[in-house]
Symmetry: C2
Subunit: 288 residues, 2 copies
């Protein structure tokens, strides 16, 4: 059920992003936006659509925040890959935006993708004004200096710090860097319905951290052909990761525990949340 719904979510969000970007014309920056926003697993969009389904929100409304979070995620990847940041030439097996175009185009395309994320989150398609206002406000908090950017900044600070990161430090870093957008995605369905976000928030926190631990494991064990990016980068850079701090076995165990508690947080929804539980199990079993 999960894998089918994940591909349905991917197809739906792909089509919606293409539609909303249709009016922007054919400037290189716009082509770079489309390129930067293509592909990926669309796990965040899936979380939006599934949490909306849990609350019986129509898919035609949920697709707006689903596309919003994928635009936001895409912007963060385009900027992350820049030479002054992670300096990556390859993303999902293809040249990164600043390689396919140039740095200036990558900066601007990322900037425009972030603006697009807010356009979609505040769009009348999401529903009544209080829903749009809350989606936009919470998205801004998840993306900004108290959320995703904070995680990035902690990551940068760690690179030049004398002391390596502790487990608490790397957990805080990841709560911002990847956790904040995951949490927004999972809570979006409750926000669309005006319902309590607490169970989905708890679920997403476990899921996000498990996702990151799995990423660290893939960096050690992964197959570059499957992940579509260079592996072994973190170890080569001497970066503290969940694997370097815990060891492989304990990292795997920790990820499994987090998935278990994420699933348990969905108890109030009963069997209806099964696809979200499958998603949590998927993030630690994936090969890319």
């Amino acid at each position: 059920m999960f894998s089918q719904r994940l591909s349905e979510a991917a197809a739906a969000v792909e089509a919606h992003l293409a539609l909303v970007m249709e009016g922007y014309g054919t400037l290189p920056v716009v082509e770079a936006m489309r390129y930067g926003a293509r592909g990926g697993k669309r796990l965040r969009a899936f979380l939006v659509l599934e949490s909306a389904r849990l609350h019986s929100v129509e898919a035609a409304r949920a697709i707006w925040p689903a596309a919003a979070i994928e635009a936001m995620h895409a912007y963060s990847l385009v900027h992350d890959d820049l030479p002054c940041m992670d300096d990556d030439d390859l993303r999902r097996g293809l040249p990164t935006v600043h390689i396919a175009w140039d740095e200036a185009t990558a900066v601007l395309a990322g900037d425009a993708l972030q603006a697009l994320a807010f356009e979609l989150a505040a769009h009348p398609g999401c529903g009544p004004p209080e829903v749009r206002a809350e989606l936009a406000l919470s998205l801004a908090r998840a993306a900004g200096a108290g959320g995703m950017v904070r995680g990035q900044a902690l990551d940068m600070a760690a690179e030049t710090a004398v002391e390596p990161l502790t487990l608490a430090g790397i957990t805080e870093l990841q709560a911002g860097k990847t956790g904040a957008l995951f949490e927004w995605s999972a809570c979006a369905g409750a926000r669309l319905a005006g319902a309590d976000i607490a169970p989905l928030s708890a679920y997403a926190q476990g899921l996000g951290l498990a996702f990151q631990i799995a990423d660290d494991i893939l960096d050690v064990e992964g197959d570059a052909a499957k992940t579509g990016k260079a592996v072994g980068k973190d170890a080569a850079a001497g970066k503290a990761t969940f694997v370097s701090l815990l060891g492989l076995d304990a990292a795997r165990r920790r990820a499994r525990d987090l998935v278990e508690s994420a699933c348990a947080a969905l108890d109030p929804y009963g069997k209806r949340a099964e696809s979200l539980r499958e998603a949590a199990r998927f993030v630690i079993a994936r090969e890319h």
Copy 2:
């Protein structure tokens, strides 16, 4: 009246930005956000506060979108100054963010300032949900690939184009690059009040274009000590500007005509809009 209200607006928005960024701590990225968001004329904030006053909206509500637009403007400057963009070392007489910190910090600080702009525009402090939703949606459209980023992209395309820009081309470019945020600022007061934005939109279009023509004139005639940035850059780069296309005298005349029509657009507001008319006259008389 105008100059006093402009300094009051500057002081109020400075204090509000400091307040909302208090909770972000002291990471270098956050210090860079504060640094990048400091100073400037705060003309956009003034437009928000004055248009709100025209509609009898309390200043305590208007300060939120006023701070939002200054955060947005600040992000655009931080990214514009990057080596891959305009490559400027100096802004408002001080080192630019990537000089004072580094490129990665400048990219991230700009990203976080954009997110902050949306946090402020969607904030409950702005008023009822429909106001917050419309402020956020319209801000996203003004900032993104149909607005400011589009203007930037047209500017970049012009640099490598075989044919120099025409007057229509440069007008379109500036409508995005500077006009979109001016228009949003001037319309914010009407949006806060749920009133018609048409007169303020017409006013801002004239004002924005006049502002840019004045900038082009300052680039030719300005005093680097007063403008706080290098002058003669556009001519040295062989860039088409309003001055290179029209000549100095006709450019001055065009700016005056635009200011006149901007002022006339405010007729429905009568004498109460006098400070906005003064603002329009100011933008073509300023020395920096």
